[in-house]
């Protein structure tokens, strides 16, 4: 994993993790890697892994009971909320960059759809 050195590392890993939960790579109710395994896999500090899991617990995306691996929440509405959050953040970033160069909304939408469809087709062909 490549890190942006100007953004907190734990936030980048948190985002990485949320994406995987939303995409179903870490499934609802299933165990997730230990903090140590995550640190090892992403080559991050154990402290950072701990902070990420703490955040995920605070946001109710994972649950941790004593002496057993942490699990992804069973509550689909919490996962849906994370999905909405990822979408909102991505759209916000996109709008920031579009707004800065003052492109009218209609033009943005046409180009957006075009690019989206190209991407979708190339994925289907792959």
């Amino acid at each position: 994993m490549h890190f942006d050195q100007r953004t907190p590392i734990y936030l980048q890993v948190l985002y990485w993790f949320k994406k995987r939960i939303v995409m179903g790579e870490f499934k609802r109710g299933e165990s997730i890697p230990s903090r140590r395994a995550l640190a090892n896999e992403l080559k991050i500090h154990l402290n950072t892994a701990q902070k990420v899991y703490k955040e995920l617990e605070d946001q109710l995306l994972i649950t941790t009971d004593r002496n057993v691996p942490s699990k992804v929440t069973l509550d689909q509405s919490i996962i849906d909320r994370a999905r909405t959050e990822l979408l909102e953040n991505a759209v916000k970033q996109f709008v920031d960059s579009i707004y800065a160069i003052q492109i009218p909304l209609e033009e943005v939408i046409i180009n957006f759809e075009k690019e989206y469809n190209i991407r979708k087709r190339s994925e289907l062909n792959a």
């Binding site: 890190f3 100007r6 907190p8 590392i9 090892n40 500090h45 154990l46 402290n47």
Partner: protein
Amino acid sequence: MLEVRGLRKSYGRKKNVLNDVSFTVPLNQLTCLIGLNGEGKSTILKAIMGLVPVDAGTIKVDGKTIHDSIAFVPDLSTMPGYMSVGEAIAYMRDYYPDWNQQVAEELMGFFKLMATDRIANLSKGNKAKVNLLIGFAMNRPYLLLDEPLAGIDLFTKEQIAWIFSSHYMEGKGILMTTHEIAEVEHLIDRVIFLQNGTIIQEDDSEEMRELYGKSVQDRMREVYQT
């Protein structure tokens, strides 16, 4: 916690090498002592180990003035060149009562070091690996690393960076001097900036990113280029 208080040192009358240097090294953290060349970084590590005399200052670990819970990894190989890697490890194992042979063997494998290679024939990167291996195998809670990344190729740096994300870090407080931080920047917890023997700035690296959107290298530029 390793606590350094009021460290002072001057060579003759000409200059203050260390001027009232105080800081702490907590367990389970990687603390980085940053400074340009000749700012007194290595002198601080040697002073902590009692290897150079100081004019004033105290070093305490959990409130006690004992040094046997600190291991020092120097920047140059201190093992005799005629020894093989295996002999050097056996020598250290006999010398240090808390030596952890399992760690030594695991790291030998991870670093792909050959027991039969002579220290004198090792590349700079491999010498640094032997030094690190010895430091971790000494099995002490605090580890002082003097420029473990200096003049080492990218892949070796990445291997060293891996150590900092591994379980070998658990329960350890690490103090590292360096000015080459690119490969380890995301692993550093705290940064202490040194200039002319004085601490001029101390930062928590995640806080620096979160509050100011700055990297450790951004901060280095600010601190040393003004």
